[in-house]
Symmetry: C2
Subunit: 364 residues, 2 copies
């Protein structure tokens, strides 16, 4: 089953193609875009070993001149230093304004390649080929690119939309289970913020914690619904003037947890899972959401094998302080996305600090 | 005499205000824009000593919370490392998405502050307050921001339009004469590529090489014509899909000369002056431009006290090789902007390497 989803961001809208086995057709898909001849493929060593040659072969087949560079895997390498390495490769291979960087990898590779493309020659093409569930349903779509500042995640970055996103679900067969679960956190997020039908489907599935429990059809459904949700939101609000902020559901506290544990204890999806439980509980405390629905969310998160509690030893004052450095802060007020019912959320900066503190202390 | 020029770049068009003494009114000018309360003023130590407190005072007067950071002056500090320093100041002062960076300085400060703003929280506001003639008529307008790569000028960057450009011609009184002449190179450029009336006015002026020979009225005329030319071109082609490339007149060879001499021997304006003479000579060789008009250009450049010959000892093969790494290269072909008559240029990638070589060897 093949599906194509459009992201409407004039002047340069683009497609997300979800097609099993499509990695071997990447050249054909890209050739429709009439890009320049030069391609720089960016990946990490493990992904490159597994899929690099296939992708390069498929690109060369249609006439691209392909060079590549690999960067170490992991959030802690998502730095300006890595961007410089991509830039060095771009220079060495004499990339031009019409050239394209292809990001083959997870969210970290996608974010960095996107940012390197955004800032090379003041912006060249980027094509996203996500290989993790997290990147497929989230990072690869929507043009948010960037790296971490030593004191905060994604503080350095730019909006730079890809020219195309190619999703080959087959590559998920080799994704480590913990990575699959991390992606499932974002899938659940779309269920809570946008798509009650997706939420119900996930609830009716027996297990969500490993790839082998997800049949081909369910996986396609999950990918399509999630990408469609993201595309809908981004198409309505590309630069996060309003609506798009709802995609940060679970991310406000999630980012603080990731940052304070040095990106080592929990991964991004796990942090978002914890953040969603916290946001859900805050919404309940503020009487914006019913306790039974919050419980349903928590149960779904648990079924996906994701954490629902703060990692031990985390200082709650430190979390609250870290929230102040979040990109979402406006006039010193932290912005929260809170559920009002399954499939709907609201944006508010009116969450009292003591409610945050109480939820983090007692309810998590 | 006060003039306001509009740069039409939807969705966020902006004004260039040219107004003597306006540095003391910067807060009032900015308050019309309804920006967030926080401002980070970025400057270099010398400019900050001279104008920093006045600017900060004028900003505080209308209620802004102002912090500042200074970076060493000079093209060789235009690096990612300097950008990190601005980012650190942004973090320390908890700048938000609605906050503004104000660039108070020459082209280097403007380019870096613009790029730091483009990449902080995926893009915050920037206001340009250029203090050199070069920055006033060129760098501050049009949204080109960036830093140098060790192997090439401005290879790292982004398009990020300012929200406002404030030009106070009074600050030119303290500009070193060599800097004034550098700016005059860009003014002459506008005469050649866009505005024959400006060219004629410059020709009819006795001396152009020092501030004291330019009366208030002539200076206003020069600034208005130059900013209008730049605004016209940028409004028609913001992202350099076509027309905007004409602003690179003199820059193709100019950049190579700057780069090969390590940004130490000639400054940007001097390099552009040399590049314009070279481009003019290439146009004459290709029978696209008349020799008398090329001579008029050369005479004007000389009158402005600018160089018309390559610095001694420069290797011509190295220049030709460096041209290949220029951002303007497309499919391996170097793009030149060549005059066809005073006030008009054309864009071509059909300049044979041997013509470039011959002009650089014999005619320069």
């Amino acid at each position: 089953m093949k599906s194509v989803i459009r992201v409407e961001v004039p002047p340069q809208s683009y497609d997300i193609a979800i097609a099993p086995g499509s990695l071997d057709d990447i050249g054909v898909w890209m050739s429709r875009l009439k890009l320049g001849k030069k391609v720089l493929l960016v990946s990490n060593p493990a992904i490159f070993r597994r899929y690099g040659e296939r992708a390069i072969g498929a690109l060369k087949l249609v006439g691209y001149q392909v060079s590549h560079c690999t960067l170490p895997a992991g959030e802690r390498y998502k730095t300006l230093k890595s961007i410089q390495k991509i830039h060095d490769a771009a220079l060495q291979n004499r990339l031009e304004r019409s050239s394209t960087m292809v990001a083959l990898g997870g969210g970290v590779i996608g974010d960095m390649t996107g940012f390197a493309a955004a800032t090379w020659l003041r912006g060249i093409n980027v094509v996203q080929v996500p290989t993790s569930l997290l990147a497929m349903v989230d990072a690869a779509i929507g043009g948010k690119t960037g790296v971490n500042h030593p004191q905060g995640k994604n503080l350095i970055g730019a909006f730079h939309q890809p020219r195309f996103v190619l999703i080959d679900p087959h590559v998920l067969q080799t994704l480590p289970p913990r990575e699959l679960r991390a992606g499932m956190a974002e899938v659940i997020k779309y269920g809570v913020i946008w798509d009650a039908e997706l939420f119900a489907k996930l609830e009716s599935t027996k297990r969500l914690d490993q790839r082998r429990y997800l049949d081909e059809e369910l996986l396609s459904f999950i990918l399509s619904c999630s990408c469609q949700a993201k595309a809908d939101v981004v198409s309505q609000d590309e630069k996060e003037a309003g609506l798009r902020a709802i995609l940060n559901y679970g991310h406000t506290i999630g980012h603080a947890v990731e940052s304070l544990t040095g990106y080592k204890v929990v991964n991004h999806g796990e942090a978002v899972a914890i953040g969603m439980v916290a946001a859900g509980q805050i919404a309940v405390e503020l009487q914006m959401w019913t306790s039974p629905e919050a419980e349903r969310q928590k149960a779904l998160i648990e079924k996906a094998g994701l954490p629902t509690q703060l990692p031990p030893g985390l200082d709650i004052d430190a979390i609250i302080d870290t929230l102040q450095t979040d990109k979402k802060v406006k006039d010193g007020k932290v912005r929260f996305i809170l559920p009002t019912q399954i499939g709907e959320v609201t944006i508010t900066d009116q969450v009292p600090a003591d409610v945050i503190r109480q939820v983090l202390s007692d309810k998590l």
